[in-house]
Amino acid sequence: MATITLKPFKTPELIIECNNITPDAFAGKTPAEIAELEIFEGKVREKLGDFFSVTGSSGNTAAETDILIDGDCSRVKYLGSKMTVGTITVNGNADMYVGGWMKGGKIHVKGNVDSFCGIAMEGGEIEVDGNAGNYVGCAYRGDWRGMRGGTIHIHGSAGNDIGTFMLGGTIIIDKNAFIHVSTHAEGGTVVIKGDVEGRVGGQMVKGDIYVFGNVQYMLPGFKEIDRVQKEIAGESATFRHYIGDLGERHPKSKGKEIYANLYVKASA
């Protein structure tokens, strides 16, 4: 494995869009060639080397390429966008769209991420040590095809609209979330280890949600049917099992209607 290190040395005036910071784009290139890659600051085309010093070496293929961003990326959007393989590590925060439309590989952000982390993700892994903004693993505006695969693990809290239109994959939030979890989802699993304010599973057709803390306001479209013992995200617990959203259409499988499942940890 070969590592390319990017060190930010200049704070951009506008937020920069770096779709090109991926192992796929870096593979087989020298640091000088990587510094020439195009990025956008607003509508102006700039070069990666205008904002980052580039050192180290890249692998021959994307799979052999690790990218280390040694510094803060609070004003860098689209890190790891559409990446298929390899790794990106950020020693700091990152702005919006981290790992958007990602197909494989791993992204590790040691600080916080802003909104749209893992938007329409298809595979791979995103790990965030801090908090996430809104729209974790959601669909693009207007699209009905959200996250399809892979894992997003947020060690802190997340905002609203988690897993909107989710079709597959797993999202784990270690702390709390605000409102709108798995809205319109037709698959996938969302685990929230802390509390959620409400609107959990609105218009959800299929898929699973686990809440270890409290759901402050339950939606009326969910009905409690039993209590189950489940192990999820490394923890075992007894959950109150709800099905829903009863106001939404539900497909049939083998003559039986399929519902979305909401599991809320039962108080002891």
Binding site: Y140, G142, D143, R249
Partner: protein, 568 residues
Amino acid sequence: MAEILIKNGFVIDPSRKINGDVMDIAIKDDKIVDKVGSGAKVIDAKGKVVMAGAVDVHAHVAGPKVNAGRLMRPEDKLFKSPDAQEHYRMEMGFSIPSTFKTGYDYARMGYAFVMEAAMPPLHSPHVHEEIHDTPIIDEAALPVFANNWFVMEYLKNNEIENAAAYVAWIINATKGYGIKLVNPGGTAAWAWGLNCLGINDPVPYYDITPAEIITGLIKTNEYLGLPHSVHIHQNSLGDPGNYTVTLDSLKLAEGVKAKNKFGRDTVMHSTHIQFHSYGGDSWANFESKAKEVMDYVNSQKNITVDLGCVTLDETTTMTADGPFEHHLNNLNHLKWANVDVELETAAGVVPYVYDKNIKVCGIQWAIGLELGLYAKDPMRTFITTDHPNAGPFIRYPRIIKWLMSQKAREATLASFKYTDKVIDATNIHGIDRELTLYEVAQMTRNGPAKSLGLSHMYGGLGAGLDANVGVFNLDPKNMPSDPEMIEKALLRAAWFIKSGQIVVKDGEITNHGNKRTVWVNAKVKENPQVMRDINEKFLKNYTVAIGNYPVWDSLAPNPLVIDIDVEA
């Protein structure tokens, strides 16, 4: 503007029966002429094909439902919008492109004229604002009539003269071009949540049948002598087994003679016929009836059709056929927009993915192409995708590739998930006809221009016609063995001259052109009864005052008006 000479190209011009002769085309100002002086700008077309600017007989490119599609589908722009060309406007979207992308992409394919196929009369100002915003191409719009209260009331009593006076009033007020019918009676029924699936189903609450509406509007059209025939989207669109309804309605044109001064000899244009050529009685035994439908079309000289080919893309369906869009939304559970347009019509919008791994989509693809391949008269069969309903218009070159190359068709067919099932339900496998460029020119240029009554301006390269000339990187004497090259050449013209201006060079836009809006000014005898009816309904039923209804001249600042005068 000045003089241009396009030298040594292989000219294909069915309007003068010229098939690939090496000739020069001379242009002076905005017209084609016999010869130009030695100072003319010379374009070397050696080894390239030269054809007239193409004419699209049916596309949804402007108006409220197109805009509703743009608004409800931001994802149609994602990763599908090219970077802006310097000095030109941003181009956005794929199936419902922005007005600028619409104009640019049509020009890049060498299109000179596009008919907006369904204009809700009440919203005609919006249609004209968008047409005005679309650069380069000339456009016209067809107001919809077949679910209009006035029309149904007059035709119920067989009052053709009154219907004609009303139609003329609407065409003038909306700066429209002709008579469009969408799901006759069915869209009116939709206001009550109902539909008319056969042409003899009575329209609920109106005491008339779709057949009577169709027949009445054909008579009205010929009474007025409009340049285009009636343009009909038939009942029961998209339903398995609907080909019998299609044949029933086509038969309504039997024996009717065209009466007009525009050289049009047809009385009915049946649009996106692919959606109306379905057999079977469910999606399980869904099959092609393209042969049955096309055999009938071939046997009748007074009807024209356009194909409405499915292009196997993710697209956005939009039609004034409100009940159909509701039905479609129940099938795919995606987004749905629905609107009722007062006394006139309705509309719906639903995104749709024609997936080649779905059997039905594969069969629909085959039906569209079969219709084109069974056509005996390319002058009466036009290439469309019912843009954006069966696919975006930028796929026209791909359809031409499929029609011109059995190899290309078989390769696509073989890439399906259910190839064998599609072959069982269709006839596409083994049709060895390959259209020639001459036939393609008839289907995209000469034919549609004639059907629209515009062959005195478009569709040919004879002296006196508008100077719309496309030059493409294709050698008709030595066509490429790789069918992809056909698509590539037709998608991006080497040169396109629109109204005497070079608007495309090497596939890129070079000029915003001088776009025109074409409409008909229909003069009829004063009809006090109809005027009284119109005033009364505006007072009683419409949400707008009659004075605010007509399209202002300022909304269509580059007019090309076709006058008709009915001596009654």
